[in-house]
């Protein structure tokens, strides 16, 4: 049996979260472009997400 060490190597939690937060932002932008939400909601959500993204980016940089 050959062990795939690279496959087993766990990604850090923060990297995964950041990747998904960026995905979330992309989805939010797409929905806003398709006029599925109000300006107000978009701004509030985008601001929340930005905060979270910055938090995780900072944590990764510090490592």
């Amino acid at each position: 049996m050959i062990f795939d060490f690279f496959k087993n190597k766990p990604k850090t939690n923060d990297e995964e979260v950041l990747k998904n937060l960026l995905k979330s932002q992309e989805l939010l932008n797409k929905r806003f472009e398709m006029k599925q939400m109000t300006n107000e909601t978009y701004l509030k959500k985008a601001k929340d997400l930005r905060k979270k993204i910055e938090k995780y980016q900072k944590r990764i940089e510090e490592k």
Binding site: V17, N20, S24, L27, M37
Partner: protein
């Protein structure tokens, strides 16, 4: 073929049961009117397109532990051990909570596919919450509304993405039997006693299925596969003795078996849990042998008396043979395999149509059904329409005239005339031209 398993995990009140019911759909249980065998469904089979899979609602497995962390840990352990796909259910209406992170932490660091199911998305307000859930760090997020049935096609498509095609596995013709029963009835010792008694060809092959430990054993020049539920339990798990969990494990084993050996502890007698398991065996149409273990511990053993007691408790299983053994002293262990062999033949029994019709005609003449509103049931013709279990189709004038007592009478007549011991039988009635 072993079906893939999907497990639902999540903190309380996120709608796991609603999603479970939506996935498995309405199921009609054939034994629901039998007292003592009704139960909450926590495990069921589901199908979508060409795929079949099992679904477990881990939230339904009550650990009777008030502690949230322990409960969630139990759910996550079961999901990781049992499932191929984990559905992590969250509440879209309430938004992301700290408890969701607790569940996330338990599910992380395993290589199971996790789908985050954002439930209760049925209005604009809930939709605004979905972006927050991406902080959980999993790769797949789907929005559904369990209550309104929204988003389930996408969910099904995602679930089956990596499932093997239905006919990917080769069909194994060897007779499969499992040893089932509630915890601590002596399943493991019985299996060990059986393995010592019969010739074991390969022990503990883990190749055929991912989690089940199957053993091939030889008896009378015939190979059998024994599915060992006891061996599947992982020591040290907090859920291993939880009754509902053991029931679920039994259900999984039953699904894969042709015959089930239901082990009963002679000391303790029969309890509700035994009936639940037995009810499921009947529902799935599998052969059944009741094994009374620890017979050596009974003071003044009287087989006749104990048989009557079992027959009285399991009135819906009067077809099942009963064997009395002691796994510890190995007494009467040799009586098990001949019964397995016999039941194995009976579940596949095919009865020639002419003989079948003679028996049914005689039964009809001997005891004609009573008339109802001036109409009487007429049986034109009977044929066997299936095996495992044997299924008989009666072509009648009006199936609405079949009273359950007459159905039972016909079943008894079939059992009197043909060797159908250990196998359930299905009687189906069809109107002419149907």
């Amino acid at each position: 073929m072993k079906l893939p398993t999907v497990a639902l995990v999540g903190r309380p009140n996120v709608g796991k049961s609603t999603i479970f019911n939506k996935i498995v759909g309405e199921k009609i249980s054939i034994i629901e009117d039998t007292p003592g065998v009704t139960r909450d469904r926590i495990y069921s089979e589901a199908s979508y397109k060409d795929y079949k899979f099992n679904v477990i609602d881990t939230g339904g497995i009550d650990s009777s532990n008030e502690n949230f962390n322990d409960n969630i840990k139990m759910q996550a352990e079961i999901a990781i051990d049992e499932a191929d796909v984990v559905l992590f259910v969250v509440d879209g209406k309430e938004g992301l909570t700290s408890n969701d992170f607790v569940v996330r932490d338990m599910l992380r660091n395993n290589r199971k596919k996790v789908i985050v199911v954002i439930n209760k998305i049925d209005n604009k307000k809930s939709e605004e919450n979905i972006y927050d859930f991406y902080e959980l760090g999993f790769d797949c997020y789907l929005q559904v509304s369990g209550e309104h049935g929204i988003g389930f096609f996408e969910l099904f498509d995602e679930i089956i993405k990596n499932f093997p095609k239905k006919d990917a596995d080769e069909e194994d013709n060897r007779l499969k039997f499992s040893v089932i029963g509630r915890p601590n009835v002596g399943k493991s010792s019985l299996i060990n006693a059986l393995l010592n008694e019969e010739r074991v060809i390969v022990s503990n092959i883990a190749g055929t299925t991912r989690d089940a430990v199957d053993t091939v054993l030889k008896y009378n020049d015939e190979e059998f596969i024994m599915i060992d539920t006891a061996g599947m339990r992982k020591k040290g798990r907090i859920y291993e003795n939880i009754e509902k969990y053991s029931l679920m494990r039994s259900m999984k084993a039953i699904d894969r078996s042709n015959i089930c050996l239901l082990v009963i502890n002679a000391e303790e007698g029969i309890i509700e849990h035994d009936k639940h398991i037995a009810g499921y065996v009947l529902e799935k149409g599998k052969g059944l042998i009741i094994v009374v273990n620890k017979w050596d511990t009974v003071k003044n053993p009287n087989i006749k008396e104990y048989t009557d007691k079992i027959r009285n408790e399991f009135q819906f299983l009067n077809y099942a043979p009963i064997v009395f053994v002691s796994a510890l002293t190995k007494k009467r262990i040799h009586t098990i395999m001949p019964e397995v062999l016999k039941v194995g033949e009976n579940i596949k029994r095919e009865i020639p149509t002419s003989i079948l019709n003679n028996v049914i005609n005689d039964a009809y003449l001997l005891n004609a059904p009573p008339s109802y509103k001036g109409k009487r049931l007429k049986i034109y013709f009977t044929n066997q329409s299936g095996i495992q279990p044997p299924k008989f189709t009666f072509h009648v004038n009006n199936k609405g005239l079949v009273h359950f007592s007459y159905k039972r009478y016909l079943e008894n007549k079939l059992r009197e005339n043909f060797n159908l011991e250990g196998t359930p039988i299905i009687l189906q009635f069809k109107n002419r031209g149907e």
